[in-house]
Symmetry: C2
Subunit: 467 residues, 2 copies
């Protein structure tokens, strides 16, 4: 009863579409199975997207796939964080170095909307003539045989494939099947915080309501508001707050309460969100989950990537980028076998993938969680802003010695696990430097600089050049 | 289509049968649903039991349920650890204090076989006339409505209940359904070690082949053999070894290799296991999993207990005891409402249960893992044995100040989380005491004793009396 096919990709989201394209570029016939309907027919789901921030790791993967030009047309450069204090004062922190970014620009991250990006990747995959996307095909199970892997679907179909790439997101059905096998480690943990989105439309004159080249943050300690620009000149504003307790969602029962909440904590926002009451009422309060698992592969046939392998919180803007990097590394492993590994090469290839990627998935998960604390809490702290200024000066004057953690993560291809390890060493150094008695007055002195460089020389001996 | 009933227990294992009995004793009608067949008709599964060690927490729960006498008839006291060195030398460590145990005996743990114990509890529950056990009823789903909870089964039945006690073990179907809901934390992690059992029959004269009042350990660093007595005068011998690497199962491909392995590492055992080759070949190599989750309840209708809430590794002999303690604490919470809480009391009761038990489930999980390292590795270490002698002397002379961690866990009702915290403080104290220059010669001196007591007075100020 079963047909036989080569490569299966389960999940036609961003990482699945990119992986299908990368496989097709290497000559493979690919079937992509997606449980949802074709978004080109039914439209995108709204109200729980969190805009996506595309950065260097993502661009490189798109480059390998030949999709940079198409994506560039929908990507908006975001050059700085803009912090909004309670009194309305704005503080800017550029993300990267002037003139060192892609396309001859400054180092920036790029705001992209999920729907259009997904469509570009899916259509690029289909345009190869080797990729078939099967919508409304929820995976119900798979079974491995010596001759192949039988995928069965809620539709009643069973199809035999040789390999399965599981790219079906944080609640992956592929991973759920792997969990039933012996000796598969898994964890899911939810943040005490949830989020809700409201939309900030363009002004009456058709312009962005606030600076479109910045990611806006209203840091308020244990909660915060964020806003990211969209190409249609709207901003998506996202409130991150605890479910329970002070300033939590449980204390905001309705739109009227939300309005007072915003008046108290984000007074410069409310006037810019005319449909506040409707958005607040209609948009869901969504949870934030982190998942980990090991191994990422099963035998020589099944492998997880992207959110299916490592769902992370969105606070480093690396969810998509780390998933794209997974796909790029997989493409590199395939290329080591001229794109088409022999049957006997697959066990080693897949276990190499787990070995290369698992610790990096864990590291970006840790980094994203720690960036949440930094964004909501520390970006409003004068001492933290002073520390950032010192680090920035070190970077400007000694770029080969002092790379900001944010740059290692966002503008380099250094493994995330190395970035995390170096970041921890830098934290230790900066905490000693910030303890100097003269730090408030002499933050830009030679003495402070010398102190930091000396500690860096001692403790960062194997400091890798991000390539 | 659905009938309506009160209490549902899913899983007719040890904790489920005990919980059903405790509910029935409080006047409730209980339906127990079990996916397996009636063990009284089909016999018990063999080859992957690990004998059970019943200790104080378990006895107290049985006492509350009125089942002590029945269980006592199948329980064998085990008074000491007996360590087997490679040269055949035996070292004994008593588990507890002389004359301070149950039934007028010394403090002991009790070896019981799972099958008979399960039968005793199930039949005691049925004998109340209020408990119906439905075998071959695998739970497929449950749904909460304002009026009740609809349980559906693979048999096609749907039954409405008011409460559901999920006692269906480490791979709990109840928990799997809870995982699909928002904001339920879960982790499963496997040890790198697995285990395999072989049986040591009675001698030709019908006697136990080795000392039946001891738990036998052959500690060999990163692997070990254990043996626990059974009432039929056999011993169940269990090899715990890593799956991969040196001395791992992957290096023991067949019975002949296993025979050389035992000859090299456990030379005093092989002659006592006549059916070694058959047992080795037929018994599976089983994995060891730990699970955690939070919360243990859902709304006011569903609650997890035992392995379903906190599967742990077997190295503290507390898997069953902690599950029984869950059931006893639940009975206490019910008794606070005269056994039958009003509808409106259930939300608080179930969240109290999570609050009271979750941290203790985590703590016994940590304790069990750490005891694995101690049993396989440190019980062969002369320095560790010296430390244990010093601690024992402290306990003998100052029983209200120095309680061995093992006693707090095994012979008291102190919350596991307190036992773990006190144990860590004691570790710190003993590591300082063991660093004394005079420790090897003067371990039983007043000076050493005074040093330890002084540190204990400083650091254990809130040392609770285990009750």
């Amino acid at each position: 009863m079963s047909e036989e096919r080569g490569m299966a990709v389960v999940g036609a989201g961003l990482v699945g579409s990119l992986m299908a394209l990368l496989l097709a570029n290497r000559g493979h016939k690919v079937d992509v199975y997606e449980r949802r309907s074709d978004p080109r027919k039914v439209g995108d789901a709204a109200g729980r997207s969190i805009n996506l921030a595309l950065s260097e790791r993502g661009w490189r993967a798109l480059e390998v796939a030949g999709a940079v030009d198409a994506v560039r047309s929908i990507a908006m450069p975001v050059k700085a964080r803009c912090m909004h204090a309670l009194d309305g004062k704005l503080t800017y922190q550029p993300y990267g170095l002037a003139g060192k970014g892609r396309f001859g620009h400054d180092q920036s991250i790029y705001s992209v909307a999920r729907g259009p990006l997904n469509r570009i990747l899916m259509e690029a995959a289909e345009a190869t003539g080797r990729v078939n996307v099967h919508f409304e095909h929820p995976l119900s199970d798979f079974r491995s045989h010596p001759e192949g892997l039988d995928l069965s679907f809620a539709t009643g179909h069973t199809v035999r494939h040789q390999r399965l790439f599981g790219t079906d997101g944080a609640f992956s059905a592929v991973r759920q099947r792997m969990m039933k096998k012996d000796r598969f480690d898994f964890s899911q943990s939810y943040l005490d915080h949830g989020y809700k989105e409201v939309a900030m439309p363009p002004t009456a004159s058709g312009d962005f309501a606030i600076d479109p080249e910045a990611l806006h943050i209203w840091p308020r300690g244990h909660f915060m508001l964020m806003a990211l620009p969209n190409p249609d000149k709207t901003f998506t504003c996202t409130l991150f707050a605890p479910y329970e307790g002070a300033q939590g969602f449980s204390e905001i029962p309705d739109a009227a309460a939300a309005r007072s909440y915003f008046e108290m904590h984000f007074p410069d926002v409310l006037d810019l969100v005319p449909d506040f009451d409707r958005d607040w009422t209609e948009n869901p309060t969504s949870s934030l989950v982190m998942t980990r698992c090991a191994p990422w592969h099963q035998g020589d046939r099944v492998v997880l990537m992207g959110d299916a392998a490592h769902a992370i919180v969105p606070f480093y803007g690396q969810g998509m980028n780390s998933g794209f990097e997974d796909a790029r590394v997989m493409a590199d492993l395939l290329d080591a076998h001229n794109g088409s590994p022999q049957k006997e090469s697959w066990p080693a290839l897949l276990s190499d993938f787990t070995r290369l990627r698992k610790e990096n998935g864990d590291a970006i998960g840790d980094l994203a969680l720690r960036n949440f604390v930094e964004m909501r809490d520390r970006t409003g702290d004068p001492r933290f802003l002073l520390q950032k200024r010192i680090e920035r000066r070190l970077t400007d004057r000694h770029p080969s010695i002092w790379k900001p953690l944010y740059s290692m993560v966002t503008f380099s291809h250094l493994p995330y696990s190395d970035a995390l390890a170096f970041g921890r060493i830098q934290d230790g150094i900066m905490s000693e430097v910030m303890d100097r008695d003269d730090i408030a007055e002499a933050w830009d002195s030679e003495a402070v600089e010398h102190h930091a460089l000396q500690l860096a020389a001692e403790r960062l001996p194997t400091y890798a050049q991000p390539s």
